[in-house]
């Protein structure tokens, strides 16, 4: 029996990170998901981040599970316990272990070099040897080695094996032989560490009650569910990481809820386009014809769609674009996260165009804002951008259970019925009858008097072609007013005040939220007073201007190199440029509080100030 050395001497309960390094394509995702779900089932809040390569098989991949008894939502940026299953990355993994932490590796092939760090304890478990002795098939051995480390981790941290057993049963249903095989593999790792190590690690998992009423879900799935509940009937898409799972989700939910069991008829249509240009064109065609239509994509897709986006803006056709942002420019890092399409989306397409943007921060907001996006698109007869990202879209987040109000009715906007058209003397497509800059529209085939011609060329308020300067300007000016009015229809900003007099504040957006909130706790502990506004929509409403005006300095926290959100604030509010200080994280990883704390602290130190 070996004693495990606790270098730091501190026992950490439900507050550390388990990071698993593996090889892509070895089936580790289900083992890692099982680990995280088991911790969640024990009532311990978790944050899971999958760091995967743009590859199907062979390149390194990592999965981080943060246990956070305080319920934080971001990465911590630390790694107290690394399970190193990829010999290619041993060196990097060893270097990444936080001081006082642990590294578990497959000691079938002993590696004395992994014991090189005095402040890290390396734990060898001969996983391959154990698994090879117990299983015959080569592929099975690869998969079961993953399950064996789940068992080892459980044995070392106190993760409840009964909880794991239940999850394995749920995973495989009636396939008893698979349940047995997986539990056998888990047992191999578990028994080995129990036999060979005297004590569990000082990193302990203990039952809590902080996950009741919560679910673990990714943002793309939640957004897809939002599309179903919004009553979207048409989706067109071209496969692109990291948006693909959104359409996969929509299809799966529709197959469950929207297929007539008797006739097999489907109350939805999904078309995989030949490219993104076609996909958005299809969504626009369906929107023009009165279906709730959307297209999920990522930055490269938005670039391709830009001409059509301008058409929908000028022709006033409702359509929802889900931009699951990834790191650019160009192909960039397709499997890494960023918030790098903010300015692209805000002004997408040539000519004077301004769009409506919604910024969800987590899967719960993905569900809710997906529904809102369709309402706003139809109310304002315009493209609406749903600005999510890879971190929100593809990682499982712990969120409060989704709620639905059955009294919800979609806002289909101003669409004239056949009877209403019949009573009109004459219908003019772009007439501002109500003085709210939103004209009435009609759907094809409704009534001969309601016919009009949608065009991307210059048109007047009647919908007719024009090259007359005044007529052209009249429509363009109305579009500006219409867009400005959307400021009060998009979700309002969320303001968090520190409760103390503050001279400085933070503005941020989307998936940075969890990291900002955690950073604010650390600042508060150190007597640094900062208020916080999280933007949830564009155009910005008056609250944003008022907020910025109340502080000497505002830190704009975002995930891109160029400070795109700051540019938008400079451009679209009265805020003086010098007041807005960028805190930028564009490394492609999910946001963590460290970069915010370090960035703001460095700024304050340089000023010789402590806020």
């Amino acid at each position: 029996m070996k004693d495990l050395v606790d270098v730091s001497g501190e026992v950490r309960v439900n507050d550390f990170v388990i990071k698993i390094g593996n090889v892509n394509g070895t089936g580790s995702a289900s083992a890692n998901g099982l680990l995280m779900k088991a911790i969640f089932r024990m009532g311990v809040p978790v944050v899971g981040k999958n760091l995967f390569p743009s590859n199907i098989q062979g390149l390194p991949t990592w999965y981080e599970i943060r246990l956070t008894k305080d319920g934080y939502m971001a990465r911590s940026g630390t790694a107290e316990f690394i399970v190193a299953m990829n010999a290619e990355t041993y060196k990097q993994d060893l270097a990444d272990v936080s001081p006082g932490g642990f590294l578990l590796y497959d000691s079938t092939w002993p590696r004395p070099d992994l014991h090189a760090r005095a402040d890290v304890t390396a734990i060898g478990v001969p996983l391959a040897r154990l698994v090879n002795a117990a299983f015959d098939n080569a592929r099975t051995r690869v998969l079961m080695k993953n399950m064996a480390y789940v068992g080892a981790v459980a044995g070392l941290t106190g993760l409840d094996v009964e909880v794991i057993h239940n999850l394995v049963k749920e995973m495989f249903g009636t396939k008893e032989h698979l349940i047995d095989a997986n539990m056998k593999a888990i047992g191999l790792g578990l028994d080995y560490v129990r036999e060979h190590f005297a004590d569990p690690l000082p990193l302990r998992i203990e039952p809590m009650d902080k996950t009741a009423g919560h679910i673990m879900i990714d943002g793309n799935t939640a957004a897809a569910l939002g599309c179903v509940y919004a009553g979207a009937t048409f989706g067109a898409w071209y496969p692109i990481t990291p948006s693909t799972s959104l359409m996969d989700g929509f299809k799966a939910f529709c197959e469950t809820f929207r297929v007539d069991p008797e006739t097999g008829e489907k109350n939805f249509c999904i078309i995989q386009g030949e490219d993104e240009l076609a996909s958005v064109g299809m969504a626009i065609g369906a929107g023009w014809n009165g279906a709730r239509a959307f297209t999920p994509t990522s930055g490269p897709g938005i670039s391709l769609m830009s001409e059509f986006i301008g058409f929908a803006y000028y022709g006033e056709v409702p359509v929802v674009l889900f931009d699951v942002q990834r790191a650019g420019p160009s192909t960039g890092l397709p499997t890494r996260t960023q918030q790098c399409d903010i300015t692209l989306a805000a002004y997408a397409s040539h000519g004077d165009t301004k769009h409506i943007l919604l910024f969800p921060a987590n899967p719960k907001e993905c569900f809710e804002m997906a529904v809102q996006s369709f309402d706003i698109a139809e109310r304002f007869q315009a493209p609406v951008f749903f600005m999510t990202d890879l971190d929100i879209g593809m990682n499982d987040w712990m969120i409060p259970e989704l709620e639905w109000d059955d009294s919800y009715q979609p806002d289909r906007g101003k669409v004239l019925s056949a009877d209403e058209i019949d009573k009109l003397e004459k219908f003019y497509r772009y007439e501002d009858r109500d003085g709210d800059a939103i004209p009435w529209r009609t759907l094809p085939g409704t009534h001969p008097k309601g016919a009009y011609f949608t065009r991307g060329s210059g048109h007047n308020w009647k919908g007719g072609y024009t090259e007359d300067s005044d007529e052209y300007k009249e429509v363009l000016d109305r579009l500006t007013t219409k867009w400005e009015n959307a400021a009060n229809a998009v979700p309002a900003p969320v303001i968090t005040r520190c409760g103390q007099p503050a001279r400085r504040a933070i503005i941020s957006v989307g998936g940075c939220d969890g990291a900002v909130l955690e950073a604010l706790d650390r600042f508060a502990e150190n007597g640094v007073n900062l208020d916080y506004l999280r933007l949830r929509g564009f155009p910005f409403n008056a609250e944003v201007d008022a907020f910025i005006a109340a502080y000497d300095e505002v830190f704009v926290v975002e995930q891109n190199r160029d400070g795109q959100l700051r540019s938008l604030l400079v451009n679209e509010t009265e805020a003086p440029k010098h007041k807005l200080v960028s805190i930028l994280d564009y490394a492609g990883m999910a946001a963590n509080p460290k970069f915010i704390i370090e960035g703001i602290s460095a700024h304050l130190e340089a000023l010789g100030d402590v806020a």
Binding site: R41, H214, I215, M216, I217, Y229, G231, T233, F234, A236, T256, R258, E265, K266, N267, C269, I270, I271, G273, E274, L277, A278, G281, M282, I284, G285, A286, G287, W288, N289, G290, A291, A293, E307, F308, F311, G315, E401, L402, E403, W404, D405, D406, Y408, L443, P444, G445, T446, H447, P448, G450, A451, Y452, F453, T454, R455, G456, S457, G464, Y465
Partner: protein, 350 residues
């Protein structure tokens, strides 16, 4: 593109079954050059719609950019039209059709719009067997930008400035045949008696119906040395298959069975009669159709008519099992799973 309407006087004109004259099927005044082939196609569309007794609001007109694309404003003024971006009409038509398959989708495109910038969308809308009439008004040049060769210009054909085209042409009919289109026709804007029945048959075909209409550009491509001029087309075109379309079966008279005419019942109603003018041509033989078109290219002949017909292919609506009630009319109550389902669904995420 104008919004000028024409004076409306139709009391002496014959009425169709809906009590409407052809004037009810017109649009705003054309602003194309006098003598443009496209205006003849527009007139044929008006005639065909009127003859089919279709409600004037039952069409949905879709187009891209170019002289041909402008013409959707010139017919069926009581129907909705959408004039989108260059070469992307098929995608808009796809989405619109998915939302409501009950309308008559008419796409008007040109050789630049379909065969260059929009070649991909042209091809993929055929692959999806989108139920629409797709008229390609083919003049071999870019008119609005003043006379550049298009991808349909024949090899060796001369531009107005005397320059010979040194690239091989794309033949939209050959392309459509290889991509699996079920209705492929070629026509000439100068022959309305052939074009009108083809348009009627194309509208009644359930699936993608292509009519490639040689439609000369009087301003930039109607000179000696051009293979898309009026003179050249009149000289070399001859109908390969004579097409008649009868909307209502009860109107069929014995005359149609003469000359061994082939009778086809269309899925969307009506009877089609195809009479061969060359004894060995069978418009149901795809390989023969492709071979004939390739042969025409070397001979310089322009064979016209309904070159290929297969009405048995499921269209996009059928392939996607779309409901009888168009998606844009399905009530919200049938689309939302509701609160209870959401609560139940979330068990899998716990």
């Amino acid at each position: 593109m104008t919004s000028m309407s024409k004076p409306f006087i139709d009391k002496h004109l014959p009425k169709n079954k809906l009590g409407l004259s052809v004037r009810n099927y017109e649009g705003v005044m054309s602003t194309l050059c006098a003598g443009c082939g496209h205006d003849s196609v527009t007139a044929a569309l008006v005639q065909a719609f009127w003859e089919l007794d279709l409600a004037p609001e039952s069409a949905a007109k879709v187009s891209g950019i170019g002289c041909s694309s402008k013409t959707t404003a010139y017919f069926m003024g009581q129907s909705h039209g959408i004039n989108c971006v260059h070469g992307r009409m098929p995608s808009v038509a796809t989405g619109a059709n998915a939302a409501n398959g009950d309308l008559n989708y008419i796409g008007i495109s040109g050789d630049g719009d379909s065969l260059s910038i929009g070649f991909g969308q042209f091809a993929h809308s055929i692959r999806r067997n989108l139920n629409m009439l797709y008229i390609l008004e083919n003049n071999g040049v870019y008119g609005l930008t003043k006379g550049q060769f298009s991808a349909a210009a024949d090899y060796g054909s001369k531009s107005k400035k005397g320059i010979e085209n040194d690239q091989m042409p794309i033949d939209p009919c050959v392309q459509a045949l290889t991509l699996g289109a079920g209705f492929v026709a070629r026509a000439f804007s100068g022959d309305k008696t052939q074009l009108v029945p083809l348009i009627k048959a194309g509208l009644k075909h359930k699936g993608f119906a292509l009519i490639d209409v040689i439609s000369p550009c009087v301003t930039f491509n109607d000179h000696a040395g051009s293979t898309k001029s009026y003179a050249h087309t009149y000289k070399y075109y001859h109908p390969l298959v004579h097409t008649d379309f009868v909307a209502h079966a009860d109107e069929v008279t014995g005359a149609y069975d003469q000359d061994g005419a082939m009778r086809v019942t269309m899925q969307d109603g009506g009877e089609l009669f195809l009479r061969k003018t060359e004894s060995d041509y069978d418009p149901r033989d795809r390989a023969q159709a492709i071979e004939t078109l390739l042969m025409n290219k070397t001979e310089g002949e322009i064979r016209t008519g309904l070159l290929y017909l297969n009405s048995d292919l499921p269209d996009m609506q059928a392939a996607n099992k779309l409901p009888k009630t168009p998606l844009n009319q399905v009530p919200y109550e049938s689309l939302t799973p509701g609160k209870a389902a959401l609560a139940k669904l979330q068990a899998r995420y716990r």
